[in-house]
Symmetry: C2
Subunit: 389 residues, 2 copies
């Protein structure tokens, strides 16, 4: 197993410093949900803290749709601080003095793990020749990565949104390989509205002539406008109506003058355009197609004819579920549905609905309630299992 | 004043049979909110029923964002029945045996009233040379149309959504020219989320290279994809999450097989794509920019430094406001805000929140609750004022 620091994957618009990479599935190819086998899968990841002798203090953090492995350290692409800096670190709720924290870029992503930006054996960028992958496939790759560390059981798997889906999938697919899970702001399946918004984003990308049927790397183009519109559409779903209204209301860009044009006149318009433009600087359009599709395909009850509780039959895993009052993308109702399924199995379940004005993005916001719930749960379970103490 | 049946406005992709047209503001030009004067404004409209001798039995219906004047008769463009057939007609809640019903296409629209598809004096399609108009401007044009019938007071003005904004604007701008108003599923101002979704739609249109900076008529192109994405984005906001989930859930197009591709796999994806495509057949992209912008600019409280009640000072108008439980685009909260402002003025106000699963589009759905509230209110006021009886 080789750790390396490398510069990535030529054909992207920008050269990306991806940090640590391991190649997994070298001996045993991985069979994807679509039926294809893949092997020698590069996985980009970061770690924080120290794996103890017993190798029982590891926490896997699963990032959200367009997140990355830079949980608690600077992202070399954006130059921004780690996206969960307030949560992960020495003395923080996910305490790196006690726990060994791992976060890897998802399969299909664009931050170093195997995805549509990679090349085939002939050196061509994969683009749409990359297979359509599922949350289950993403988790299977993570499991290989965890194995590569010699870890036989994770202390915890934690994540929000599409990261939360991965967390749930971990509990379903590898119940004996994880002591506890913390899925936040998530659901056991994508509903019709979730799929609808993702589909609009994909259509926006694919409508952009610069997308070039996915071969923009070869064409030397980049679907800036399409990807930007996809991000704008998604971004509105991440915020609550109240948060948008509170932050921007009907405030104008320039004093109180309506400009009677189609320029960005309201501050919320300018803000949205900025969200779109800055996303284009850091994300790969084809990866956006793949990760949104994986989320849309997610449905833990599907293999059980809709009976979600059967997905968790006799689960030994301890669950702590968090939802947020103003999250309308994955509302509390979706989490309650999971809680009921777990209750039906007599599982060990904690559930907190946290009052927050920030909508779906609440799990990314520094908030003492979240930090207390998460830190308290981990501390309690660590003491119970004698881990990381 | 001339009524005529004509074939419309060459430069659109399709020749459109627009029905009745009157030219208003022939003597007195109309000063728009942006400061420009316009004159000789063609207004396309339909009427149902008969204007009585006293000319006091007229009801103006204001259509929504992408609606049209074909309230209760076949639309020649789409071939579809009138959009409010169940509400307007002989013996129906808006009873054409008693009332004379008028509906005109809005200023900036694309169904015959003056808009960006029209030509300038040199014969060039206006496109973005058409002025940015407001809800107030739309209503001012309607007022000229009503005058042209010799009507000095409307019995009622009725409309939902952006039509409801026009209704409210009528009450504010011409309080002595209307006895009662029925604004439905609307708000006194567009909030940040409303503006955000409209802005995404506009960006999608303007990102399409076939939009040609608004000059697609001259270029012989048409931003099919951009307009389609704009419609898809808006369409999701018109439905409730429950309605989408109930109608489509996670049902697939072809049995229960995930196709692991980016084709429309879920029924909701196919449905959305169809919504986009069929919209392109009937609506003008530049008109979409103009009517969404007019809605975004709408804010009745703005001239009164945010004090909405002052917009209705001493109003003699009778109000009947309707909202719908699952409308998240213009939620009941927005209507309550208007009701409170009217109460502060001691206005005559009825308010009903109607339980409906259909989200914002509920006002377009045949529903006995809506029909009873609306029919009952009109009947009561007609008897009180001795109109149409």
């Amino acid at each position: 197993m080789n750790d390396m620091h490398m510069m990535s994957f030529g054909a992207s618009r920008r050269q990306v410093l991806v940090g640590k990479i391991r190649t997994v599935a070298q001996d045993r190819p991985l069979r994807l949900s679509c039926g294809k086998d893949i092997a020698d899968i590069p996985v980009a990841y970061q770690t924080y803290g120290t794996l103890n002798e017993a190798k029982d203090n590891a926490i896997l953090i699963c990032h959200a749709l367009t997140g990355d492995q830079y949980v608690a350290s600077g992202n070399p692409v954006t130059g921004k601080a780690g996206w969960w800096n307030f949560m992960v670190g020495s003395g923080k709720p996910i305490d790196t003095d006690r726990f060994f924290v791992i976060c890897s870029n998802v399969l299909g992503g664009c931050m170093g793990t195997y995805g549509p930006k990679h090349h085939d054996a002939e050196g061509n960028v994969l683009g749409l020749n990359f297979p359509v992958v599922t949350i289950r496939d993403m988790v299977a790759v993570q499991q290989r990565l965890i194995e590569s560390f010699g870890i036989t059981q994770l202390f915890a798997v934690i994540g929000g949104s599409v990261g939360g889906m991965q967390v749930l999938q971990w509990a379903v697919d590898f119940p004996n390989m994880v002591r506890c899970v913390i899925p936040m702001a998530t659901a056991a399946r994508h509903n019709a509205q979730n799929i609808a918004y993702h589909e609009i984003g994909r259509q926006a990308i694919m409508a952009d002539p610069d997308w070039q049927d996915g071969a923009y790397h070869d064409a030397g183009t980049f679907p800036v406008k399409g990807l930007s519109i996809a991000r704008m559409t998604a971004h509105v779903t991440y915020l609550s109506e109240n948060a948008l209204q509170h932050k921007f209301g009907r405030m104008l860009q320039h004093g109180d003058v309506l400009d009677f044009s189609f320029d960005a006149n309201f501050q919320v318009e300018s803000y949205l355009r900025h969200q779109g433009v800055s996303f284009v600087e850091r994300f790969d359009p084809n990866s956006y197609l793949y990760v949104t599709k994986a989320a849309d395909y997610f449905d833990l009850a599907q293999p059980h004819d809709g009976a979600l509780s059967l997905a968790f039959a006799h689960t030994p895993v301890s669950f702590c579920l968090l939802s947020f009052t103003t999250d309308w993308l994955y509302p509390t109702m979706e989490t309650r549905h999971i809680v009921r399924a777990l209750n039906a199995q007599g599982a060990d379940v904690s559930f907190a609905e946290i009052d927050s004005p920030y909508g779906h993005d609440a799990f990314l916001m520094e908030d003492t309630h979240i930090m207390n719930v998460l830190g308290g749960f981990l501390d309690g379970k660590a003491k119970k299992f004698g881990v990381g103490v």
